[in-house]
Amino acid sequence: MGFLLLVLIFIATFPIYARSYDIRVLTLILIYVVLAVSWAMFSGTTGYMSLAPAAFVGLGVYTIALLQETLPFPVIIVIGGLISFVFALLVGLVTLRLRGIYFTIFTFGLVVFLTELVQFLETRIFRSHGWNIIPIDDATLLYTMLVLVVVTVLVIYFIQRSRYGLALLSIGGNEEAAEHMGINTTMTKVLYFAVSSMFMGAAGVVLAPNLVYINTNIAFSLFYSFMPILMAIFGGMAHLSGPIVGAVIFGYLERTLRTQLFSYFMLGFGIILVAIILFLPNGIIGLVPTLQSKLGGLMANSGKGKQGEQHANT
């Protein structure tokens, strides 16, 4: 708890002394946190690997592009989230019957389809191929994003601790058995896919002002689909903190590597990811129990005692 408070104070006071660029980097990192945590909440537990985050981020970006002159910013965030929620409900009802790789491919296709559809519509209706987003000052964006992160993480924390978190996990464990234990698997999948998409859509709205100019290729960039997945795997998905840690480290690395290596930064990324998958299959947070038991072995017997108990049981 104390640690969390420190983090909050750090973010809250950041705009007082930091450069504008750094504030934007921190805002982007917080956006990644929301994307990674919401992706892991659904895909990490159920095993339904969604490549759709970009679709919902894009919907959020376009929501603010269209509404920025008519509605206040916080209202647009809520609307962006709701649009993504409803859209994900519809998509989920159609696609969540698909299992394994078919679901993944469909969600990938969804991003491509939405990109084309939105481009077609904006050309037809608005005769334009892109939009300028009215800038919002860095501190406001950061604080808005901080609120969104806190809401997202709290909601997902309570979902995962609730019976519905258990239902999502059981779908990942064995969907057929889950159905026979009284779990309405279709309803559970569709609803929580929509909840996870809602946060992604809201994050898309906050992302937009820093992009300054957007078009369909920027808003629906598949980058926003792959990043949350990489971050969640990198951080580890066994615990809520995994995707958060992954998003913070990866988001920071992305920005630094991008400025130093330019377009080669993906290469550095790739190497790090391969190394993680090879050596840390449970992600960064997978290291914690290992470290604990090693330290515990050196210092005290508390760690050992627990292990001994477990062995006695098996």
């Binding site: 239902a167 996990l169 059981s170 058995a177 159905e179 026979h180 234990m181 009284g182």
Partner: protein, 245 residues
């Protein structure tokens, strides 16, 4: 009124009738066995009752109410629990959480968190696995994973329990313990319908037995009658007698 009743139950896979026009009745409080050679349609019949597959034709009634056409989770909540031939435990959670899923979702009314944990602990104690509630499910032996499946089904508070080859792959001591467990479950008032290959177990604890062959019911009766039924001996016990003992 029988607790479970099927009339003309049929399942076609393409042109093949996996279950063909089967009538059956499960009486309240009995242990009913379902036997037959491999591919006879035993597990398919269980899958039709629990709605893993839709029936092609025919009707299944639970407590007089038609259940064909319902979804698996609805049938579970009405009071039909089941286990699986190939164990289907939730490999991504510890033992207690496996059983908790049944306690939380398997009953028609909403259960509070504390009550669900209580029910799950009770079910685990019933099958003798209390000491392992925090253990990772993959660290359990096959026999214990099967017991977790039984506990998980019991946590849904079933009136009828479908046990699909509970004893397959167990050694003789474990089979004996499993037979005791099944009798103990029945003594709590739960009706049992079980598919089994282990003849000793079937003959020892079932009050009645139904025999399937090529998807059709070829015999039904008390264990003694089944053991002396010529057709059954021909299709099943002839080869099963060697394999089973």
């Amino acid at each position: 009124m029988p607790i479970l009743e099927g009339q003309g139950v049929t399942k076609l896979f393409g042109g093949l009738a996996a279950v063909s026009n089967v009538d059956f009745r499960v009486e309240q409080g009995e242990i009913l066995g379902l036997i037959g050679p491999n591919g006879a349609g035993k597990t398919t019949l269980f899958n039709l009752i629990s709605a893993a597959f839709p029936t092609s034709s025919g009707e299944i009634r639970f407590n007089g109410q038609r259940i064909s056409g319902l979804k698996p989770h609805q049938i579970c909540r009405m009071g039909v629990g089941r286990t699986f031939q190939e164990t289907k435990v939730f490999s991504n959670m510890p033992v207690l959480q496996n059983v908790l899923t049944g306690a939380f979702f398997g009953t028609p009314t909403r259960v509070s968190g504390a009550d669900a944990i209580g029910e799950a602990a009770k079910a685990l104690e019933f099958v003798g696995l209390s000491a392992m509630s925090a253990t990772a499910i993959n660290d359990l032996t096959l026999v214990n994973q099967k017991r977790v499946e039984v506990a998980r089904a019991l946590a849904t508070k079933p009136e009828l329990l479908l046990l699909d080859e509970l004893m397959a792959g167990l050694n003789p001591t474990e089979v004996g313990e499993a037979m005791e467990l099944v009798t103990k479950i029945r003594d709590t008032g739960i009706t049992i319908f079980m598919v089994e290959h282990v003849m000793k177990a079937i003959m020892g604890i079932c009050e009645r037995i139904i025999v399937l062959h090529h998807g059709e019911k070829i015999a039904e009766g008390k264990p003694k009658e089944i053991a002396s039924n010529k057709q059954v001996i021909e299709v099943y016990l002839g080869e099963g007698a060697h394999a089973g003992s």
